[in-house]
Each structure stands twice: as structure tokens, then as C-alpha cells.
């Protein structure tokens, strides 16, 4: 069999996999998913503006030291998070339309960036929690007799420890998944560069 005849036969067989069809409602599902992703992005921005706006409004309406410190610290946290995100994702433009080789390269960089983000996220979370606890303790100890031990065992503070524990488990799992993904990306990159 000559090469071209063989290829023609393969192509005919390939196209005969006709039972594989695109679901009729695929485009509707895609539109729904895109809408949902846009809503999530808006929610992210709204939460940031909501928290930042509330503490800023409190500092303007009731300008005491506590409120001003809280507003400044909150906006510092927000700014540092956005600044890190901007630096960390620099040069990682939407790669869907790039060549496969370029896509793989960007995927590797994105995966490393996500791993870096987990470290920064953990650092930011610990700093925020430490600040919030100190602020709350200071705020309440001015109004009542309160020992640190009592404060740290309040139900609302225990809920913070619980949430922290859940987040820690999620953080470890996410980092493991991303590390595995990075290993697979490296392996695939090697496989594709063998030829």
C-alpha cells in the first residue's frame, strides 16, 4: 500500500467515528459558564470594595485611632494582594490562541506563579489574622476587663481557629495538586521537546 493510499484510508476511517457528536446545547452551556465566571469576578471586586469601603467609611464617619488604624491596615492588605497578583501574573497573558509550544511554556510559568501565590497567600493570611486579633483584643480590652486567654477562647475566635484549620488543609491539598501539575507539565514539556 502506498503512503497516500494508506493516509486516504486512515482519513476515511477517522472521519467515520461519527457517533462522537458535539452536544446540541454546548454553546448554551458555554455561555452560561462564561456568564458565571464574569459574575464571580464581579463578586471578587465587590467583596474587596465592600470590606475596604466599610472600614474607610467608618474611619471617615468616626475618626478615632482604632478606626483609622483598621482602615489603613485593611487597604494596605488589599493593595499588597493586588500588587502581588499584578507582579506575579506579569507577562502571562491569555495564552489560548498561542502555539502549543508557547502555551506549554506559559502553563509552566503560570503553575509556578500559582505556587508562589500560595506562599504569599499564607503569609498574608497569617499577617491579617494576627493584625485582626490584636486589633480586636485592643478594642475590647479598652471596654472591659479581658485577659488574652479569655479572649482567645471566645466562641467567635474559636471559629477563626476552625476556619484557619480548614484553610490549612485546603492549602496543603492545593499545593500538592499544583506541585503534581508542575511535575506533569515538566514531563510533558520534555516529551514534546524530545524530537
Amino acid at each position: 500500500m502506498t503512503a497516500d493510499t494508506e493516509l486516504d484510508l486512515w482519513r476515511a476511517q477517522w472521519r467515520s467515528c461519527s457517533e462522537i457528536a458535539v452536544a446540541a446545547d454546548l454553546s448554551r452551556r458555554v455561555e452560561r459558564q462564561s456568564r458565571w465566571m464574569r459574575i464571580m469576578l464581579i463578586v471578587d471586586v465587590l467583596v474587596t470594595v465592600g470590606i475596604g469601603g466599610t472600614v474607610a467609611a467608618a474611619a471617615v464617619l468616626f475618626p478615632n485611632t482604632d478606626n483609622i488604624v483598621l482602615a489603613v491596615a485593611t487597604w494596605l492588605f488589599i493593595a499588597s494582594a493586588w500588587f502581588f497578583a499584578a507582579i506575579n501574573h506579569r507577562g502571562m497573558w491569555k495564552p489560548e490562541t498561542s502555539t502549543t509550544a508557547a502555551f506549554l511554556d506559559i502553563s509552566l510559568r503560570r503553575c509556578r506563579a500559582r505556587l508562589r501565590a500560595t506562599v504569599f497567600g499564607a503569609f498574608l493570611y497569617v499577617t491579617e489574622i494576627a493584625f485582626c486579633l490584636m486589633w480586636l483584643y485592643h478594642y475590647h480590652s479598652q471596654r472591659q476587663v479581658l485577659t488574652l486567654g479569655t479572649f482567645l477562647t471566645w466562641n467567635s475566635i474559636l471559629a477563626v481557629w476552625l476556619v484557619t484549620l480548614v484553610l490549612l488543609v485546603a492549602w496543603v491539598r492545593y499545593r500538592r495538586a499544583k506541585s503534581r501539575e508542575l511535575a506533569q507539565l515538566r514531563q510533558l514539556s520534555q516529551e514534546l521537546n524530545q524530537a
Binding site: R11, C17, L26, T99, T100, F103, E191
Partner: protein, 164 residues
């Protein structure tokens, strides 16, 4: 206009995309997930398409990139290794000849078994793309495409012989 263009692209290339998705996934559910992933990426990328390449090249770039991402995800989750995927032989009688559809399934199973770099070029070849288009999609030199294709064809031939 964007919705119409998207619908038209999906309609015209649906079977090609579905075959490509099938060559990167182990089962129908994974294939549908990948197809939706491709369609979502296409929806997002379409507004940025300025005609720097043909629509087909653009489409296959998006599809191959999503397939690569899917492959990495499924490998890192420890899902079914594609090399182990088998399409069941549905022949009622071993003596009877295979129908074209069954031969298609056999070919798909063999393409599954190709290493990724050969699977990429082979799926594009089977879809009828030119060497220059393949080079443009994969981001490799045309000479490299030819080398990969030669090896891919030899491997595929051998795999199909083994299956007979």
C-alpha cells in the same frame, strides 16, 4: 455577531473537535468535559482573533492547548493512563470484515497509544491540515513536523498491525 460566529465555528468543526477530544481522553464523560473546555476557551478567545492565521488554525490551536491542559490535569490527578485505554472490539464475528466505523474505532484506539508529540501531528494530519498549518499550530518548524509525522505513521502502522 460573536455568538453567530461561535455557533458557526462549532457547527462546522464540531466533529473534528470531538475526534480530537476523543484522542486525548479515556472515556465519553472526559471527552465531553474536554469538549466543553475547548468551547469555553474558544468563546473567550474569539473576540481576540484578528485573522493573523486561518480560522481553522486558530480553532485547532485553542483545541490543542486545552487538550494539553486536560492531559496535564488528568495525569496529575492520576486518572486513567491513556496508553492503557482500549476500545472494545465489537466485531460480531472474527471472520467478518470490520465495518468502517469499527475500523475508525480501532484507528482511534491506536492513535490513543501514540506518545503525545506524535499524537498531536497525527490527529492534525488525519483532519487534513497542511504541514505549514501544523507547524503554525504547534509552534515547531515544518521540518520537525515532517520528522514527527514519519515516526508517527510508522508507529501507527505497527500498532494497527498488532491489533489485527
Amino acid at each position: 455577531v460573536l455568538e453567530e460566529r461561535f455557533e458557526r465555528l462549532l457547527q462546522a468543526n464540531g466533529p473534528s473537535l470531538a475526534r480530537l477530544a476523543a484522542s486525548y481522553t479515556a472515556n465519553a464523560s472526559d471527552r465531553d468535559d474536554l469538549l466543553q473546555d475547548i468551547a469555553t476557551a474558544l468563546w473567550g478567545a474569539l473576540p481576540h482573533f484578528r485573522g493573523e492565521c486561518s480560522e481553522r488554525t486558530f480553532l485547532f490551536r485553542v483545541a490543542h492547548n486545552r487538550a494539553i491542559a486536560h492531559l496535564v490535569r488528568s495525569r496529575s490527578l492520576g486518572s486513567v493512563i491513556l496508553d492503557e485505554v482500549e476500545v472494545p472490539d465489537t466485531r460480531p464475528d472474527p471472520e467478518a470484515g470490520l465495518s468502517e466505523r469499527q475500523q475508525g474505532q480501532r484507528l482511534l484506539a491506536a492513535v490513543h497509544k501514540l506518545p503525545v508529540m506524535y499524537r498531536q501531528v497525527m490527529t492534525l494530519l488525519l483532519e487534513g491540515l497542511a504541514y505549514s498549518e501544523m507547524a503554525d499550530i504547534l509552534g515547531i518548524a515544518e521540518s520537525n513536523v515532517v520528522v514527527r509525522l514519519n515516526r508517527a505513521r510508522q508507529m501507527l502502522r505497527r500498532l494497527l498491525e498488532e491489533k489485527k
